[in-house]
Subunit: 331 residues, 2 copies
């Protein structure tokens, strides 16, 4: 056992070195480990954690067809021109697929295949949104440790799932398009508060000015004094127009957060949330296992014939789980 373990540690050290050296194939392998729950993934993260926290994590969210990947592509080209390494994690909670081989992504990856300064990967859920958020967060950490300076996290859709995943980005940009009715949806879903930047993409289309006005109106209702006022940036994915302004807006937000002391505060909140999520998920797994025991089945029987109430049974199992071991207890 000891020998195996030492061998394991050697392997992890070697992997970590390769990642630090920016070996994209090893990065891909590490992310696969994290997705599949391979324990080497966790060991690797542990080793790399001290090197993380450097990258700028940008969240890019919006409805399907809003043009997120084209925009990301434009951003990659722009940033590569400045010599900046860029990682992309394309998150699709509705896709059961993992491993970066969705057709569109293959095309994108092909374009940058020879450029080791770009890493693109699709992250699909396997029905478990919590797991997806965790894998994405940890994949971003691998890229961070590998020296990627900007990491774009693309998420599909507008809804709770995105809000969840967006809690790991430093800056969140929301992509809207003219005539899609997105703005109303966004307002309804309470996503306004999550967005640090608004991007009106396909700005060459009719209705762009109207969309900008709608967003401005919403913003005037929502934001208070001295707070960050999300800029509204017009982009044209097709021509690349507006990409400079987009990157400018992202940088401006980062500066704002740093100047106001909100940068570390936001990251602290994210770390706290991350710990909470890991604890709750582990506890839930533990609880579901307990609830499969014959002893719990018996309690279910007793509840069903009204011998014991749900609150009382809950308290009993809670005591068991929390190690107290006391059963029962009065009202």
């Amino acid at each position: 056992m000891t020998r195996f373990r030492e061998h394991g540690e050697d392997e992890i050290r070697q992997w970590a070195d390769q990642i630090k050296n920016g070996d994209n194939r090893m990065i891909a392998r590490a992310i696969s480990c994290l997705e599949s729950g391979d324990s080497r993934g966790e060991a690797l993260l542990e080793k790399l954690y001290p090197r993380t926290g450097q990258a700028f994590l940008v969240g890019l969210t919006g409805a399907p067809g809003a043009g997120k990947s084209t925009l990301t592509d434009r951003l990659i080209t722009h940033l590569r021109g400045e010599g900046c390494k860029v990682g992309v994690l394309a998150v699709d909670p509705t896709s059961p697929f993992t491993g970066g081989a969705i057709l569109g992504d293959r095309v994108r990856m092909g374009r940058h295949a020879l450029d080791s300064g770009v890493f693109i990967r699709s992250m699909g859920s396997r029905g478990n949104l919590g797991g997806l958020a965790r894998a994405t967060r940890e994949a971003a950490r691998i890229l961070d440790a590998a020296g990627f300076e900007v990491i774009v996290i693309e998420t599909v859709g507008v809804g709770q799932s995105e809000v969840e995943i967006m809690h790991l980005a430093d800056t969140v940009a929301l992509v809207l398009t003219p005539g899609s009715g997105d703005a109303v949806q966004v307002f309804k879903a309470g996503i306004m508060e999550t967005a640090d930047l608004f991007i009106v993409n396909k700005a060459e289309r009719a209705g762009a000015a109207r969309l900008v006005r709608d967003i401005e109106e919403m913003l005037s209702l929502a934001k208070g004094e001295g707070e960050w006022i999300p800029p509204i940036i017009r982009t044209e994915g097709k021509t690349g127009r507006g990409t400079d302004e987009l990157w400018g807006g992202l940088q401006k937000h980062r500066r704002f957060l740093r100047e106001k002391g909100q940068w570390e505060e936001r990251r602290r909140t994210h770390l706290q949330r991350e710990v909470q999520t890991i604890i709750e998920e582990t506890m839930r797994a533990h609880l579901l296992q307990e609830m499969n025991s014959p002893s719990f089945r018996k309690d279910l029987d007793r509840m069903q014939i009204r011998q014991e109430s749900p609150r009382r049974v809950a308290r009993k199992w809670l005591n068991r789980l929390l190690g107290g071991g006391e059963e029962g207890g009065g009202t």
Copy 2:
């Protein structure tokens, strides 16, 4: 202390007796206790639990304006004609208000004010959906113990919140209206599986036949052999037409569940879910308290300067919470 406690037990016994006797004012007071977290509420539930499990819990859900309360009113009149006691819990997750004094409900309550065989109550959240579901479940139990034979749980809207609350009903009826685009929404949100009955209300309007066809089409895709096929019932809230069929459909579903042995099974699932929810909510409260401690703050500091990883910190606190007390641990 002992004296007080004895006095408390006397009080609870007296309350329980009044509820068993169908004293509506005492029922209202008990529900208020449950909503506000007054410990007498829990004590009372404990005492009444053996008397519960008799009532038929009907969930009625649909978008605002679908005519749920008018339908409920028609159902009340119909059931009162059969000598059946009816309780109504109107759940509105978007309303911060509790206590049954929403204007529309006042009107409804006024109409039945002299009839002790009817009890109507609005349940509003105070920002906490979990709390609302629990309070509603427990309010239904009070009504059950008081001898109400049918309890209608009305919920506003079509979404996750309703699915949550619908997990406490024996039979779920979904109210749709012609021309509202509801059917598509419902299909998207995956609510089809939750509905045991479809009600096409305002069936006098244009588009009713179309809506029925749409639902039929969806149903043909979704349901398997030997399973319950949800009937589609046309109602006209305004005239009361279709109320007989509605009650007939509800009864038919109850019979089906009983004949197939699914009645107890469903209730068992609900009880299990209830226990799980209570445990998870309590654990979360416990966890959030721990995360406010200076000791956790220190761990946050350490994570932020990359001395310790989130997974490691999570494991440490998990061990603490679960009573193990061991800290650290390997990879």
